[in-house]
């Protein structure tokens, strides 16, 4: 039962990997601006349903030559004084139109200064500007003529790379594998800057949906904290509490299964409700407290795994803390600034991705959890697991309260080793199932257990 699922995730992860690797490779391998020691501009497009947001990163050196606005020594605090001139200049040189030549509306938004570096350029200062490009009502956002000559109208050797960072309808949602759309540079033969024709292909709600499903799946798979919380709550599920300790013996298999199911379900309901509510109401939730709350929830879970704090009420606790986890999930969606229609579909897909992977992981962990509980060294394993979890939780808590530390970094990086994690869970599941089968066939009690060593969960 577990094996086909493992293959399914592998396949899913492979697809996700390719989706990230291909654009990245394209970007690395085919950048015509690379033969350029002078820093170039980068325009990153976020494509929405009815508009496109462009983030411009402009090296201040060439910007000064072209615009006459010298920002090389201007402090960030003094930027607002120049913002009117900057906006006027930018608006004059960003002129998207429909393919038929109908002008789009351009609004220049936030401006800021930062330092950066490109290959072989050395560090330099750049002006970052946001521009919202809106086509005339009913016009296509996915096909347009990008008439853009910021800087290059004057500094003719200047190059602008145009990439797409986020494009929901094309299934590009993570924002960390920008795809290149084209390069805006001088046509030297004619000494003119030809406009770039942007063709983003045909978008579809299905691609957006699938991308969000993958994003959700990856989010929980790589987000060690959510997973750890659930698993640490499940760890003592097959045990009975007595006298403030976990030595009331074993719950029956049916009871254990019911408990695990209830805890998982409660966690699911909790985070789904919170995710849906905060995403749909576009509630502005501060990130830090929520993240700290999650760290605290893991710590509580870890303590509970050592000494029962709330025996029998794990489901309730999972549900309540699940609310916090759901709010954290909603940050991912909030960052994407989706239209309401896209948001609803994204919400469904994203949550579905989360639930599928969560279900898979719980199924994988299930046999190990049941077998572990029967081992003689169960208390030692449980306490060790709980202590490691508690350490990670304390590290995260400190980090999220403003004290960066190596423990948090190590715990975060564990999320990058999903293959190893899945393998451990998978092998554990196979061994545990095998052991149960053997024990059942021999019709013997579950007492001589020194032969089975399970990986701690």
């Amino acid at each position: 039962m577990t094996r086909p699922r493992t293959w399914l995730t592998t396949a899913l992860r492979l697809v996700a990997g390719i989706a990230i690797a291909v654009p990245a490779a394209l970007l690395l391998g085919a950048s015509p601006a690379a033969a350029h020691p002078m820093p170039h501009s980068v325009v990153q497009l976020d494509v929405y349903k009815d508009s496109v947001t462009a983030q411009l990163a402009l090296p201040v050196g060439d910007f000064a030559t072209a615009s006459g606005i010298d920002l090389t020594t201007v402090k960030s605090t003094a930027l607002p004084a120049r913002s009117k001139a900057i906006r006027t200049y930018l608006a004059a040189h960003i002129r998207p139109t429909t393919l038929k030549g109908q002008a789009w509306q351009v609004t220049i938004g936030a401006l800021s200064l930062s330092r950066t570096e490109q290959t072989s350029t050395g560090p330099y200062r750049e002006l970052v500007a946001k521009a919202v490009l809106t086509p005339p009502a009913g016009a296509d956002v996915r096909h347009f003529t990008f008439d853009y000559d910021v800087i290059v109208h004057q500094v003719v050797t200047h190059i602008t790379l145009v990439t797409v960072r986020q494009d929901w309808a094309a299934g590009q949602v993570t924002g960390d594998g920008a795809t290149q759309v084209g390069t805006i540079r001088l046509d030297v033969r004619h000494m003119k800057v030809p406009p770039l024709t942007v063709d983003l292909g045909r978008g579809s709600a299905w691609r957006g949906f699938m991308a969000m499903l993958q994003l959700g799946a990856n989010h929980i798979l790589t987000g060690t904290d959510h997973l750890l919380f659930l698993l640490i709550l499940l760890l003592p599920a097959p045990l009975l509490a007595a006298g403030g300790r976990w030595n009331g013996g074993l719950a029956g298999p049916r009871t254990a299964l019911t408990r695990i199911a209830r805890i998982t379900l409660a966690f699911t309901v909790g985070h789904s409700v919170a995710l849906a509510t905060s995403a749909l109401t576009r509630l502005q939730i501060p990130g830090r407290p929520v993240e700290a709350f999650i760290a605290a929830s893991i710590l509580v879970g870890a303590v509970h795994a050592i000494r029962p704090l709330f025996p029998g009420r794990e489901a309730l606790v999972a549900g309540v803390f699940g609310l916090g986890h759901g709010m954290a999930f909603s940050f991912v969606l909030a960052e994407m600034h989706l239209s309401t229609g896209q948001l609803a579909s994204s919400l469904l897909a994203f949550n579905l991705g989360i639930e599928l992977v969560q279900l898979l992981l719980v199924c994988l962990a299930l046999p190990s959890l049941l077998v572990l509980a029967r081992l003689r060294i169960q208390p030692a394993l449980r306490v060790t697991g709980a202590l490691i979890t508690a350490t990670a939780a304390i590290g995260w808590l400190a980090d999220r309260l403003g004290l960066p530390n190596p423990v948090a970094r190590a715990a975060d990086s564990a999320g990058a080793h999903t293959t190893g994690m899945l393998t451990v869970l998978g092998v554990g599941a196979v061994v545990a199932v095998g052991w149960m089968v053997v024990v059942r066939q021999r019709g013997r009690g579950a007492t001589e257990l020194e032969t089975v060593m399970e990986p701690a969960v």
């Binding site: 330092r115 570096e117 003719v156």
Partner: protein, 420 residues
């Protein structure tokens, strides 16, 4: 019964142990295989290379061919394979001014050669290039030295402030890198710590220069001497025992001038700069006004990848309107670039450019002092195309550095290729 069980337990344990060991071996072994796959080449002894004819008495192009063969004879089969490549457009146009190592240019890396091999390689260059001071071979060796200076400067972090937070956005290898299969684990000159991180993909240093012969060197066929690295690209195309093209030729330098440990001062591009200064300095106010371009430049227009992209309309002041003395200054200004090739060929090319002088244009942007970012001079004729630009330093951030390129409207790569 209890003995049975013990035995069973023991057997199971043994099997589990074996399975575990096997898994571990497979994993570790597999990891090793993968890790080694990329580095294996070169560690084993390679087969001896093919021997080619050497004629010590040959002159002109024959001498270059002979020296090329002599160099090839010092190489083993693998090294010969990375030096002798096909004369394709992809290989020929794979050059860059960037410190992008082998990712953007084909050929064998100087840093990988033994002393004997290196001496043989340098002999080829010496015979193929001009004998002038600050031009030809002398200039090329200085450019290579400059990269060691740059590397040392970057290692000691003598340069400007380190970047603060935000990481780089994009940028990468030259697209023409597809022309080579060379390994990318080039020993780089990039320092382990500090530095301002301008090393790019190949790093700085005299070892990070590459020599290739595109086509087989011969006094009868068509082939190209293709040499370069950071701030240097030499493309000499030979056809039937003659030089059919001495361009594209890119030279740049940072720092523009430096003094060695033994007290020698180097300024490898000074002759080029001084020729242009003499020319623009001779122009009257009215002539300067005509020569001034409205555009600004932060690099040369026709750098790597811009083959055949000459502007259709020439800009600036027409040389036919200049005085005879000024015309001589134009020729003198062009000469250091043409002098990259052997003296006889350079003389012939200069004759051609002299013929075309009246249809040639001189233009500039920024100031004529050639000491500020954006200062730019261009000489554009029916054949010749020379650009010189001043840019802010990458490692020496408080200084400018130079980029220049020499092209020929019809003779780039010996007219072997057409560019759309």
């Amino acid at each position: 019964m209890s003995r049975d069980r013990t035995r069973l337990v023991r057997t199971r344990r043994t099997w589990r142990g074996i399975a575990g060991a096997v898994t571990a071996i497979v994993l570790v072994g597999g990891g090793f295989a993968v890790a080694n796959a990329s580095t294996d080449t070169g560690t084993g002894k390679s087969a001896a290379g093919v021997k080619r004819p050497v004629d010590k008495k040959a002159t002109g192009v024959g001498a270059v061919v002979s020296a090329a063969n002599e160099f090839l004879n010092t190489l083993d089969a693998d090294q010969q394979a990375s030096t002798l490549l096909d004369l394709t457009q992809a290989n020929a146009t794979a050059w860059s001014n960037l410190p992008c190592g082998s990712t953007c240019r084909p050929g064998i890396q100087l840093g990988s050669l033994t002393d004997t091999q290196l001496a043989a390689a340098m002999k080829v260059l010496k015979l193929a290039t001009g004998t002038g001071k600050n031009t030809g071979y002398d200039q090329i060796t200085q450019i290579i030295k400059a990269d060691d200076v740059l590397n040392a400067a970057q290692s000691t972090s003598s340069a400007g402030p380190a970047p603060s937070d935000t990481a780089s956005s994009t940028a990468s290898a030259d697209p023409s890198a597809t022309a080579t299969d060379a390994p990318t684990d080039v020993p780089t000159g990039t320092p382990p710590s500090g530095g301002t991180g301008g090393g790019g993909l190949g790093g700085y240093g005299s070892g990070v220069y590459f020599l290739a012969f595109l086509g087989t060197p011969s006094a009868t066929g068509t082939w190209q001497l293709h040499f370069g690295g950071h701030h240097l690209a030499l493309n000499l195309t030979y056809k039937n025992g003659k030089v059919a093209g001495a361009s594209p030729f890119f030279v740049g330098v940072e720092p523009t001038t430096w003094t060695d440990d033994d007290g020698t001062t180097y300024s490898p591009l000074a002759t080029m700069r001084d020729g242009l200064l003499a020319l623009t300095g001779s122009l009257s106010t009215e002539q300067l006004a005509t020569a001034k371009l409205s555009e600004s430049f932060s690099d040369v227009l026709l750098g790597p990848g811009q083959d055949g992209q000459f502007p259709e309309t020439k800009e600036g002041i027409k040389v036919s309107t200049l005085s005879p003395k000024q015309k001589q200054l134009v020729l003198k200004a062009i000469h250091p670039w043409i002098a990259n090739v052997d003296d006889a060929t350079a003389k012939k090319l200069m004759k051609t450019y002299e013929h075309e002088l009246n249809q040639t244009y001189v233009a500039y942007s920024g100031t004529t002092a050639l000491d500020t970012q954006g200062d730019y001079v261009r000489i554009d004729g029916p054949g010749v195309w020379v650009e010189f630009v001043c840019q802010n330093g990458v490692v020496y951030r408080d200084q400018i550095h130079y980029h220049t390129v020499y092209r020929d409207h019809t003779r780039d790569y010996g007219s072997e290729f057409t560019f759309s």
